[in-house]
Symmetry: C2
Subunit: 401 residues, 2 copies
């Protein structure tokens, strides 16, 4: 069976490597031998073991009836979207790590695959090598999914871990992440939460079996988090994590991405560095958790390759994924109830009492000119209005219930 890799960057190259490293076992599971026939990329790769497979024209691959499975590791919407549609329309299965494309057009591409007796699989699009997509689609099949929450972005988790453990400020931690290759030169998609937003949109869509539009998901990044915030968190036996959350409420979905303070004793607090974790709450099974490397060359490539194995096993048939091409109802985040931790100037004590009534105060010796407090659960809209009225506001972070 011939496969093609589209986009020979880090993940695409990883796919070839994983196949080389575990070829015997992969082919045994797939039930057939797997040959990388084409590598589609604009660049050349002199010296690469697969340099002779490199092509620059997608038509060579699309017009070759011997290619059955595409690994789409290009990323981004275009040309991946156009290429993927053409591949599926010609009956070639596509296995992708492209979360942007899946979040934008997942339902449409699954339907196109179904119409052409092939498959569109995207295990690597969420949680890197953690098999969370397959868990939702093929494991928890007797469960009504109630809530999913997790650390879905390794870059920001690395930065927050550095800030917590080493007292690094955001800018320094980001710089170190960039030097280590964990963050991109333009880190916006990670640090502003956009990446985690796409991922929770995909998970929510699988739970809803309809599209949860990522544009409807409230998204807040970690750029405003400071060491001072960690000092307060630590004093309250908590830490700060960027959480993606999606909950089912009466058939609608409430989803968000934002930094939260979480209790140190909760399992999510122990998910450090570039690791990811997804918690799933379902109605008869209760809580389950899936943990592992959420990014990185080989872990992500391993997930792509597992999808290739699945496609090879099911060649000529469509692997069903319940995700209809209609929009799920997404609730407004403004009405969500959250508790907030707020830092403000010492002289705001009076107005805090006036605005928030009974709060739990916390003062730290090293910050004599300010104080922190924790609100009761309060609607987002109301919280925003009240917090904006504090003249000496320093920061505010939600607290995970």
């Amino acid at each position: 069976m011939n496969i093609a890799i589209w986009g020979y960057g880090i993940v695409g190259n990883g796919v070839a490597q994983v196949l080389d490293i575990n070829r015997e076992l992969i082919e045994k599971r797939a039930g057939k031998s797997l040959n990388i026939k084409y590598i589609l990329d604009l660049r050349e790769f002199p010296g690469d073991p697969y340099e002779d497979r490199v092509i620059h024209d997608v038509d060579i691959c699309l017009n070759d009836p011997d290619v059955d499975i595409i690994c789409e590791t290009m990323g981004g919407n275009e040309p991946a979207y156009t290429f993927t549609k053409r591949a599926l329309a010609s009956g070639k299965s596509v296995c992708t790590s492209n979360k942007e494309l899946v979040a934008n057009h997942g339902a449409e591409l699954i339907a196109l695959a179904k119409a052409n007796q092939c498959s569109y699989l995207f295990e690597a699009s969420v949680g890197g090598g953690i098999p969370v997509i397959r868990v939702l689609n093929e494991c928890l099949t007797a469960e009504t999914l109630l809530e999913m929450s997790g650390i879905l972005n390794g870059t920001t988790n690395y930065i927050l871990t550095k800030m917590e453990k080493e007292g690094a400020e955001f800018a320094d931690a980001l710089k170190e992440a960039q030097e280590k290759g964990y963050a991109e030169k333009n880190p916006e998609a990670d640090v502003e939460g956009y990446d985690a937003c796409r991922k929770i949109a995909i998970l929510s869509s699988l739970a809803a079996q309809k599209t949860v539009d990522y544009k409807d998901i409230y998204t807040e990044g970690i750029t405003k988090i400071t060491c001072g915030d960690f000092d307060y968190a630590n004093a309250m036996d908590m830490t700060i994590k960027l959480l993606a959350v999606s909950a089912k409420k009466d058939g609608s979905y409430l989803a968000s991405v934002a930094p939260y303070m979480v209790a140190k004793e909760s399992p999510i607090a122990g998910v450090n560095d570039v690791f990811n974790a997804v918690f799933v709450k379902s109605n008869t099974l209760g809580d389950t958790m899936y943990y592992g490397k959420g990014a990185g060359k080989l872990p992500t490539a391993s997930a792509v390759m597992a999808d290739v194995v699945k496609c090879a096993q099911n060649h000529g048939t469509h692997i069903e994924i319940l995700w209809e091409d209609s929009k799920a109802e997404v609730l407004s985040f403004e009405d969500a109830q959250n508790r907030f931790f707020v830092r403000t100037a010492a002289e705001d004590a009076g107005i805090v009492k006036e605005l928030f009534g009974k709060v739990t105060e916390i003062s730290l010796e090293q910050y004599p000119e300010e104080f922190g407090f924790v609100t009761q659960p309060i609607a987002e809209k109301e919280a925003k209005e009240k917090i904006e009225k504090l003249p000496g506001l320093i920061s505010r972070i939600r607290i995970k219930a």
Copy 2:
């Protein structure tokens, strides 16, 4: 599609309940309606919603060509073994929670299913509702599995958690577990580690793709663990967990079940009460972890029902599980290297130095007549010989590396 439930105890009854609770979603995923046609049990169940489906003669079910899927929730080797063989031989798929039968005859029953274009699935046999079997068989398919370790028995984890958090002695914690229904009247299978042993044998067999015989697995229970041991563990920032471990060494397998001291900061230390967790180390993905309720009526039943969905989706075909009917080579535990924590009488200080050389000592105020020490990594056989020479030996527990 008609299904039958064999054994209407806690799990069997749970299967019917899960189907009732999530019927719409389950049937959507299965692609067909599911009807419980028979419930095989020696007892009657007056007042049960399914009382009219109860039969006492397995032949009624086996001779009915309209029954496609059996949920075998009887437990034990016989008559489950004979009944299962007859079902598979007649092309009926079997989904089971019966770890004893799977550990004893898994490979044979899978082969029989294959020969008859039906399936033998056993997600519920390990880790209750945690989808660990499917993760190994269908998710980590591009991975060479290197090591699995985990907390696979909820009863003992509940007891150890009580001992750690409340200072309860083993006998009292066991009694409470029995009162809460977490431990059976005869708790031997749990507290002696036999249950965890069957489960790690199943996971090891899936990793080896051959049978790892549970009789070859070193198994030690928790009956000798005392509060005093927890005092020492706590002083070393550790806790005590019953771990099942299986590691691949040059194509052979080293497996064991025993209590271990584990660092409180390790993720496994945070797995408390009846929760289970399985850690998997594989060659390109690295570490992943799967966590959830390892026992209980509905979680276990949910796993059986997920297998039913899988069988319904694949009706008429065999779902492949790579597990040959030959024995994997299991290494002798005597040669395994472990570090030990040992408690012995104060007057043994001299002989300890003589036997073990350089050790790390630890003394607790409340135990003035004894001391504890931690050995270097040492072969099991050698450790046993040396530890037995201590005249004042109080206890010894392995330390997880």
